[in-house]
Symmetry: C2
Subunit: 358 residues, 2 copies
């Protein structure tokens, strides 16, 4: 049921698709790097499995392959970037570079982005800060799949938050999480295998908890982190809302139920208040707070102490955010990236549009 | 079982206690304002119920009533503040003012704080930004009560995150949440009433889910938001970790299991790596991103759209973060603040130390 492709092979194919769409060499390279970072890190739902979706958005003229991405408002530590309907995979790294430059100059940089599209995994953008000895943050809103506490209506996307923190000898701390109980990608796996979902991941059209993994097709919704009020779903709802506000209300993008859908066949919401979808990127220079070496020594100590915390019987070790993804990356860089048959077939079809073979 | 006190009455009593400890007039006023903001907003666990705890920390010389709070490192948009073992109720507003000043100058301001103590409710500090047309953020670490996913060991505090966002005609968006499934204050209520806790709030010494509200006394632990791995507890663990790192690793305060305990009778952890406990405060000027009026119009639209989202049968309305606390505040400012008999008795005893009557 799976085919394995080497990273260089998938990279070359994907880059050629972006080039065929009309992306510049530089844009195709960064878009491919960002997209495939998801496959490498084991977040299969956000990698090449989405390539055909990006192509269809481009065909529907919702993605501009040659955008004029620019800063439209700024202060020494903040900016708003207009993505000109470009690939989020290209727009977000542009915006993160602006944040890093501002952090270099004045200690921190914070960039809200309008008029963009889906940007792949949030973790990639946050991790751009690491090599500069900075803490990186990345958030994005996304089309509405999540119901607020007490609601039956889909009002928020899975709106992820990523935070990357540099360390010394230990690998960095990299948290990258949807603000829902379960990411949509996990639900898609259950749908594909016709398995039931754990109670607490989704609700049906009436707002009742359900194990039907297909409930979203029948007006169900994903649940905010916390699952129900008694277990703190109002906190997950608040976190998703903060991502929405920072990414879109602060930039002038669309927010809440008005965020453009990823599937190109879904009509755009009516009366959209803003432009495209929004991201929020941030960078803080470590030595804008204390000596980077001192920080890294403490961060190593933090990581080691948490990793050696006593475990529940049956578990080997407490994990540090970023551990599982780093193991995936090392393994897949070496052994290749396994793709589901259906994903590989989809890529073959995408290739045919541009006379490219997988 | 409850006694009701007017806000001015409790304010005057509490301020006199802080003055009796040796706080300056200005410090006693701000400390009282911050502490009582919890009682007003319905977060009873963080208000005057803790006054005796602060007094005992002062008696144990862990709180300095006349601190020399100062910026020890800074860039145009960042700073580290040394709280000189002062009341967090005084140190955090000082740090937030620094953040606001930096945001006024360069668009945003971010302040990490070392050598502080408990700062009351995070929401108060975040809300200081609102009157300046800024988004405010506040976090703090706290002594370890929470077990990471897969662990039996208490490694993190309930580490809250607060975000306050200004709006136009609507009341502001104010999220203020522990990064655990349930705040410790909610558990304390169940303990006092000898009720069981919902599954998912706490685990026992072996890391098994339990409904025993007293499990924390027997080496149990609070659970991170998400409750268990299947429901995303690794996300709550990551959020609590981010708060710990921003508040303490970035400032040089104590982190993880080394954070000083609130009860003065609990011995300090050995081999502490830093100074006191830590906070992280931030402010972003709205018009550092876009015209404040445009933002507020969109924020009003955001709030109204979410408030009017379709509800699950039996619920009147979808709430906006900050709604419940604002209703509490309006009611308690008018009708007074109800205190449990035990809390009132505790205050009487505190007063006796300083010849003050409640």
């Amino acid at each position: 049921m799976e085919q394995v492709f080497s990273y260089p092979h998938l990279f070359s194919f994907t880059k050629n698709v972006f080039l065929s769409m009309g992306c510049s060499e530089a844009d195709a390279t960064i878009a491919t790097t960002v997209l495939l970072s998801a496959d490498l890190r084991g977040i299969d739902s956000h990698g090449v499995a989405r390539l055909s979706g990006y192509v269809r958005l481009w065909e529907a003229k919702r993605i501009n392959a040659t955008p004029n991405i620019k800063v439209i408002h700024e202060t020494p530590s903040t900016a708003v970037v207009d993505g000109d309907s470009g690939l989020g995979l290209v727009v977000a790294p542009f915006a993160m570079k602006v944040a890093i430059e501002k952090a270099t100059n004045v200690g921190s940089g914070w960039v809200s982005v309008q008029n963009s599209n889906h940007f792949g995994i949030a973790g990639y953008h946050a991790m751009m800060a690491l090599q500069h000895d900075m803490i990186g943050m990345a958030m994005t809103n996304a089309s509405a799949l999540v119901a607020p506490t007490f609601s039956t209506e889909r009002m928020l996307g899975t709106n992820p938050i990523a935070v990357a923190v540099p360390s010394g000898n230990e690998p960095p701390f990299v948290a990258d999480m949807a603000t829902t109980t379960a990411a949509n990608g996990k639900l898609e796996i259950l749908q594909r295998k016709n398995l039931e979902a754990p109670l607490g991941w989704i609700q049906d059209a009436e707002g009742e908890a359900t194990t039907d993994a297909h409930a979203l097709k029948n007006k169900g919704a994903l649940l905010p982190l916390g699952s129900d009020k008694e277990h703190g779903s109002h906190k997950g709802y608040a976190l998703g809302s903060i991502v929405d506000i920072f990414s879109a209300v602060l930039s002038g993008a669309n927010y809440g139920p008005w965020v453009p859908p990823f599937p190109a066949y879904v009509p755009m919401p009516e009366n959209q208040p803003g432009k495209g979808l929004g991201h929020f990127l941030g960078a803080m220079r470590i030595d804008a707070f204390r000596k980077a070496d001192d920080f890294k020594k403490d961060m190593d100590n933090w990581i080691r102490r948490f990793r050696s915390a006593k475990t529940i019987e049956g578990y080997d070790q407490v994990l540090i955010p970023g551990d599982p993804e780093r193991l995936f990356e090392a393994q897949r860089m070496k052994d290749g990236i396994p793709l589901l048959e259906t994903v590989a077939e989809d890529l073959v079809k995408v290739g045919q549009k541009f006379n490219l073979s997988l």
